[in-house]
Amino acid sequence: MTFILFGFFAVLAIAGGIAVFVVNSMARATYALAVSFVAVGAMIVMLHLDYIGVITILMMIMEMAIMAVFMVMFMGMNPALMPMDMTHDKRRSAVLAVVVFIALAVAIFVIPWPARTGSPAADLTQSLGDAIMGSKMLVMLTISPVLFATIVAGLVLANPRGRYDRYGDDLDRETSDGNADPEDPIRGGIGR
């Protein structure tokens, strides 16, 4: 039963992944990727990683929804109705992908994998919680500033008019009488 279920999710994940680059519209590609991710999440749950599997599924479904919004925003059209083929170097990319897959597959079957060591905890999710709040807390402490830096960098890049646009590169744009003078298309405040 486990094998059949795993086979089903494996085929779904791979077929979804292939469909992403085969279907002729971005909206369909997004849904295909979402299907692939859900199948991978299910396989991760089958590997007894309940917590990681579930957050993979939840995260990826939200991510695909955001991706669809970005596509509509950037393409300026309904992506579901507009067939497209925007690719380059298809042949060389395909050859490289096949070579990488064959190399990985050979390695998978040639490597003498070691025997299993250690035994899983009774409650794996709780053991993960204990680890990241205890012995492995440094990992989470390192990820936190990385995620915070990502938020700051994302905002700085995506902000259309930041303080440097308004006050100059050295933030010292002034009027003749020495007051700060932002360069705005329309003055703000009362009495504009």
Partner: protein, 100 residues
């Protein structure tokens, strides 16, 4: 379900993602390829954890992979927004000066 079988599926996902990341011109589609590659890594990590050493340490590594996925997506969207705003394009071919 054996270690080799799960790793083979993970390798297939990685290879498909690699094809997409190299062949697509639209930035968001390139990101989809990279997402597939990271997803393959996540699946392989999960399999190695369960079949070789099912201790909490391995789960923590998988959380790091998930965080890398999130950071990749957030920064990818931010860069795509900047490129679109400054060049009115979402194609990688019009932003080759960002390479290296």
């Amino acid at each position: 379900m054996t270690l080799q079988l799960v790793l083979l599926v993970a390798a297939a996902l990685f290879a498909i993602g690699l094809y997409g990341a190299l062949s697509q011109q639209v930035v968001v589609m390139v990101m989809m390829g990279i997402e597939l590659m990271i997803n393959g890594v996540l699946l392989a990590g999960g399999a190695l954890w369960w079949f070789l050493a099912p201790t909490p340490d391995g789960q923590t590594v998988l959380l790091v992979v998930l965080a890398a996925m999130t950071v990749e997506m957030a920064m990818g969207f931010a860069v795509a927004t900047v490129v679109h705003r400054s060049r009115n394009s979402d194609m990688t071919d019009s932003a080759t000066d960002l390479a290296g």
